[in-house]
């Protein structure tokens, strides 16, 4: 039994195509096994919002009656899921205000909510998928790492499907939890990539030929210049990383003990008197 959580990020265009691909993927996932469950979360600059299952439906009974009379004979669960996602995203779009030109998103918060949702609903192996179109937000590093470690502890795999630019944070997340990271070369084929790479669950993946793991850059960035360094100095109190030795840590303001060379007392030499 596996449970997927999706996250969708706002793209500048092709939002409807992206949603179409996600809905196809969601339907296939629900159709694979009866016990599969689905949750879809949209994450944008101010908040993250559960698109499906939606609170406003109150359990989905009311909507099911409306939709059960679909003309094309679609499985009701899939029809309900599609219509809920479409309605909720319209809701979110109309409520969200675009403040300035920010393209960052609050990924860590969405992942945290998804983790809690997964844990309360099922206790077995779970997968989480992230579809990303915006850039990383550096402020989120610590919270993001906390979320990744919590997922790793609970054996939840995080997969990432990146549309625009590479994301170092997501690469680390996939590497640490054991999921797949893929940067899509052609956005139009999003549905194909989703179905091919991300639909099979972890046991089946070992038998498929999938894209090779990306090279993850685990070098740390120094706190003073934000450069990636290979050898650095770490403060033993607050674990902040510096590229050069300095007598005081700028984060926690501890003075460090400096190893001074040993002072050698000059020995008094007896001067030889000239004969």
């Amino acid at each position: 039994m596996s449970c997927y959580g999706f996250h969708i990020f706002f793209t500048k265009f092709t939002l409807s195509k992206c949603l179409d691909a996600v809905m196809v993927m969601g339907n296939s996932h629900l159709a694979l096994t009866r016990t599969n469950k689905l949750a879809v979360i949209a994450s944008h600059c101010q908040d993250s919002h559960f698109l499906y299952p939606s609170k406003s439906l109150g359990g989905g009974d009311g909507a099911a009656d409306d939709v059960s009379s679909t003309r094309d004979g679609k499985y009701e669960l899939l029809a309900v899921a599609n219509s809920t996602i479409a309605a909720e995203i319209r809701n979110v779009l109309s409520k969200a205000e675009v403040r300035g030109n920010s393209t960052d998103t609050l990924l860590a918060g969405s992942l945290a909510k998804a983790l809690c949702c997964i844990l309360t609903n099922s206790h077995l192996v779970c997968l989480e998928q992230v579809i990303k179109a915006a850039e990383d937000c550096a402020l989120q590093y610590m919270n993001f790492m906390n979320v990744i470690f919590a997922a790793q502890k609970q054996n939840i795999l995080i997969d990432a499907c990146v549309l625009d630019s590479d994301s170092g944070l997501l690469q680390q997340a996939c590497d640490i939890t054991g999921g797949l990271y893929l940067k899509i070369p052609q956005k139009l084929a999003l549905a194909q990539y989703l179905l091919w790479v991300f639909l099979p669950d972890s046991e089946q993946r070992s038998q498929l030929v999938l894209p090779p793991p990306a090279h993850v850059d685990y070098r740390a960035a120094c706190f003073c210049h934000r450069n990636l360094i290979e050898i650095g100095y770490v403060c033993s109190v607050c674990l902040s990383i510096f590229c050069n030795f300095s007598p005081i840590c700028t984060t926690c303001e501890t003075a460090f003990k400096i190893q001074l060379p040993q002072m050698v007392k000059p020995k008094k030499k007896k001067l030889k008197m000239p004969a």
Partner: protein, 392 residues
């Protein structure tokens, strides 16, 4: 010399009337009481964090396991030794999860002697395989606290000043056989700033009480196996650093993981330095971590480079310890009836079924019992607070 704090012993207290806990309501059913008991078992005590106290993040811990005759006792199933070693495997895993740049060593004591099972190392696999093999060893004789502690101190006293030096003793015997005066050793331990804690499996022993009180550790005696596990897990969190520990800048390397496939022309297989330790024999492998200073190859991190002595870690290892530095404040418990607004948990979107919910003091979002437990144990950040852009 010793000022014993006034503390009533258990037999000096009054009777515990455990039958009074169960109360019937008007119709004679115990449902409310049973629900209350279940709810309390779901909520564990959230250990109060110390707040703005410096913690010892780089820890050197020696675990001393008593392998004397009394460990064959069967009050812990199947016997005390097997149960202890099994719990220690879980402890080692959890310890390296919470303190990735720390080290652990295991010492056993039996037959009035002590010997090192594993040396101080940062790799959990070695310790776990050694613990698994030790299950078959025989338990004979009496333990020796003095010998075990002096063996631990021999290694710990050479450790640098900014690390915390700790010893955790699991003692089941009520006796100890020492070649010299143990109170002198206690004074030496105090000078060397070694913190000794004891978990007793039988009963309280006075020499352990003095030992832990003088060195600043904790002493507990277990009630049953789940209590034993709880007490062990108390030692996973980094302890507050002593005021005299030095703070220094430690030079560390952050190697890149070179992943090369056999298809590339430049890929050259090479030997990994970690095979010098294991008896598996040298193996050629294509990828690995190369030390930035001397380019020796290692297969996993964290490790101390054998060639140049540089400590090699990766950035996520340091990031694992950040939540100790910024602990999450405990949430306020409030009854569900008093909450305005929807009765949904903000994190998992489920309905609030229990009679009380937890409210985050800073963002006032409501969480259910399971989410609160998960947030404080594993997540260490409130899912709604991190939505505000002002938060780090």
């Amino acid at each position: 010399m010793d000022e014993e704090p006034e503390r009533a012993k258990r037999w000096e207290g009054g009777y515990e009337r455990t039958w009074e806990v169960l109360k019937e309501d008007e119709s004679g059913s115990l449902k409310a009481t049973v629900e209350e008991i279940l709810f309390q078992s779901k909520r564990r005590r959230v250990i109060e964090s110390h707040g703005q106290v410096r913690l010892g993040m780089m820890r050197h811990l020696f675990v001393v396991v008593d392998c004397s005759r009394s460990m064959e006792d069967q009050d812990l199933k199947p016997n005390r030794l097997t149960s202890t070693l099994k719990l220690l495997e879980g402890f080692v895993d959890e310890y390296f999860d919470q303190n990735p740049i720390s080290q652990v060593g295991v010492i056993t004591t039996k037959n009035k002697r002590a010997e090192k099972l594993t040396d101080l190392a940062g790799n959990p696999k070695k310790h776990i395989s050694a613990l698994k093999k030790a299950v078959d060893s025989a338990c004979v004789g009496e333990p020796s606290l003095y010998n075990a502690l002096s063996l631990a101190v021999q290694t710990l006293k050479h450790m640098p000043g900014h690390t915390s030096r700790e010893v955790l003793i699991i003692l089941s015997s009520l006796t100890t056989c020492d070649p010299a005066n143990i109170y002198d050793l206690v004074k030496t331990l105090k000078c060397l700033k070694v913190r000794v804690s004891v978990i007793g499996l039988s009963a309280e022993v006075r020499v352990c009480t003095v030992l832990t009180r003088e060195t600043g550790g904790s002493y507990h005696v277990i009630l049953d196996e789940s209590h034993f596990k709880e007490l062990l897990m108390l030692h996973v969190k980094p302890p507050p650093a002593s005021s005299s520990s030095e703070c220094s800048l430690i030079r560390m390397g952050f190697p890149q993981h070179a992943v090369a496939s056999a298809m590339e022309r430049d890929a050259r297989p090479s030997f990994s330095m970690s095979h010098l330790d294991s008896g598996a024999g040298p193996g050629l492998s294509l990828g690995g971590y190369f030390c930035p200073q001397c380019h020796a190859k290692y297969s996993e991190l964290p490790v101390e480079c054998k060639v140049c002595g540089l400590t090699l870690v990766s950035a996520p290892h340091l990031a694992r310890s950040f939540h100790h530095l910024f602990p999450l404040q405990p949430f306020v418990e409030s009854p569900v009836e008093e909450l305005q607004g929807s009765r949904f948990c903000e994190a998992c979107q489920g309905e609030l079924k229990d009679k009380s919910a937890f409210v985050c003091p800073s963002c006032r979002s409501v969480f259910c019992v399971e989410c609160d437990l998960f947030i404080h144990d594993s997540l260490h950040c409130c899912p709604c607070c991190i939505h505000s852009r002002a938060a780090l």
